[in-house]
Amino acid sequence: MSNSSVALDGKGKLPSYLIDQGKRKGLLAWLLSTDHKRIAILYMIGVLSFFAVGVSLGFIIRLELLTPQGTIIDAQAYNEIFTLHGVIMIFIVVIPAIPAIFGNFFLPIMIGAKDVAFPRLNLLSWYLYIIGGTMILLSMVLPGGAADTGWTFYIPYSVRTGTNMIFTLSAVFILGFSSILTGMNFLTTIHRLRAPGMGWFKMPLFTWSLYATGWIQLLATPIVGITLLLVIIERVFGVGLFDPTLGGDPMLFQHMFWMYSHPAVYIIIVPAMGVISEIIPVFAHRTIFGYKFIAYSSIAIAVFGSMVWAHHMFAVGLSNNAEFIFSLLTFLVAIPSAIKVFNWTATLYKGSIELEAPMLYALAFIFLFSIGGLTGIIQGALNVDIYLTDTYFIVGHIHYVIFGGTGMALFAALHYWLPKMFGRMYNKKVAKVAFWHIFVGFNILYFPFLIMGWLGMPRRSYHYLPKFQIYHIIATVGSWILVAGLLIMFINLLRSLRTGEIVTENNIWGGESLEWKVQTPPITENFEEIPEVTAAPYEYKDNDEPVLEKEEVN
């Protein structure tokens, strides 16, 4: 690191990637850029815009459910909106969110590379992503209406409904293709472009999590791709594949859908865990506990996560054998996740914890994800699951895991890395105010889901029994607090990009991974000279007893 640090030191900054350096200027210089950092920003704009759409749809759902009968929209619109909310949030927001934004931006920097392995393919992925997302939005406004099947597209309704299914399904197919290309790009990057000295076990844990995610993206996504393509073929040409009237087996569709869509949960959560593994040691000022365990557990999650899909189908009448195996494997998959949680808490133990905004979100992640994970284990038990299937308990569980997990990790990552990406610091006080709104609002919104689900409130239901109304009212009030928090957070972050305090130091938070050794904001090719890596990523001198003798960093 010695030679690179000289040139990259504070003063006399080089022009950052934010300044156009090629022949093109302005918008085109962004839209045609193959710089991984610019593509990351493009993804960020896309993901956060769709997140806003998804949140608005969720907000409408909550308003609608204030009363047991229709409130503001009719039943068909309700079906379309909860489908869109699911499709947008799952396929367009949380699946690409962390890998495509922060993976793109920081993976090459973290491993000491100038870019990803295939920069132009990277840009293509973004265009596919935008095309897919736009098609979903178009399906809302075109005649016929948006898909109303729920985000799971179950057969036979998805072959029969008159809504714009083909649009939605093709969009998801294209988004899947974008995801595959990103996964392939990251895997090749990690294999081929690590800087000299950057051995596998010197990689930051975020990189490890992206590696595991890349494999899931690569191997599982094509299965759902083909499955949805088959539904399109079935609708267009009337080819007998899944439709029971043509001899097909609707259960097989569910199997094939969940073969991807369960591992997709890990595409969603594993990078989030990677982010948390980065943030916790930095703000606890302690070396991460059990580096190798966390790294391996990412791989273990990828492996076990591929073998549990049928636990989404316990109520459809699987064979006894399948029920037994899938239930057992479901319990097993909790182990690697728990390993991570224990390692994070062990890292915090005796650390000098700094409660900056990223750390608050990271701690919220651990708390909310634990609730999400534990409620998941409850459903892994066969007999309990029969009772809980298609209740609000499931809805509560997925929101705790996906929003409480990946959502919080996304916010943590935004607060952690945004100053690095733009060279401007947000208002830290406002960030904390926003955090508490989000955290409190989140729990008021989703905890009642768990309770009313346990009492039998069915999901995706337009009408409901009056006895559940009190829970719905509480949840809706929670949604207002949550949305208020989100608004405060995003306004604070957006304002910081224009008026925030300028950050000059390279190492904003005191991190040890490579991204904190390059200029803020980074230069176009990240490094003037490819660094020689000698130290492990999480070596903190502060209060860690057995620190290895390490060469001086900077």
Partner: protein, 206 residues
């Protein structure tokens, strides 16, 4: 799209990396068909008798001919790469064109096969087919989907080869830089491998 990055990529050319990316992509393609093979296995297991009857209606002769065509096209593709490695540009070009033509022959063959099936009335949604037992509908459903999707891959492969022919003429692919041709070859061979499995599953096992 000429930005600084591209210059860098060229400056540190990483052929192994390029091939690695291609292989990973091909594994993804393999699982795309894998989903279909899963369906085939389940439906065959559930409708053994119907699959048996439906498979007897297939034209083994045309299937075998197409297998030989694709295998030979794989050979010419592999030889085209070797020729390029040895610096024999003309031979490589000829072999690439031959590969392309084999792909075309495969499609023509397929066209006649499907036309015959359609004339018999075995097309999706036809009164004849929908009246059959569900296992046979599924057999034909899978047959048209899997072979059709494979056909799409043949067309994509031919398009890629057409580009390679152009690149070879222009000298973009040359003795020292032929990883594009290698990757095109990898894609073409994958198309071949998928057919190697489709052939017995639809034509031979009755």
């Amino acid at each position: 799209m000429t930005t600084e990055n591209e210059v860098v990529v060229h400056a540190h050319r990483d052929d192994v990396g390029a091939r690695m990316g291609m292989w990973l992509f091909l594994l993804s393609e393999f699982l795309l068909f894998g989903g279909l093979f899963l369906m085939y296995s389940i439906y065959r297991f559930n409708h053994q008798h119907d699959f048996h009857i439906a498979a007897e209606g297939m034209n083994i002769f045309l299937g075998t001919a197409n297998t030989l065509i694709l295998l030979t096209s794989s050979l010419t593709m592999a030889l085209a790469i070797t020729a390029m490695q040895k610096g024999n540009k003309i031979l490589s070009l000829v072999l690439q064109i031959v590969t392309f033509l084999f792909g075309l022959a495969f499609l023509v063959n397929k066209f006649f096969e499907w036309r015959a099936e359609f004339r018999e009335g075995n097309y999706p949604g036809s009164p004849l087919l929908t009246a059959k037992p569900s296992g046979q509908i599924l057999y034909y459903g899978l047959y048209y989907t899997m072979v059709g999707l494979h056909g799409v891959h043949v067309i994509v492969g031919m398009t890629i080869i057409a580009f390679m022919i152009r690149f070879t003429i222009k000298g973009i692919i040359n003795k020292d830089d032929y990883v594009k041709l290698e990757n095109a070859g990898l894609y073409w061979h994958l198309v071949d491998i998928i057919w190697i499995f489709l052939f017995p599953l639809f034509y031979l096992i009755t």
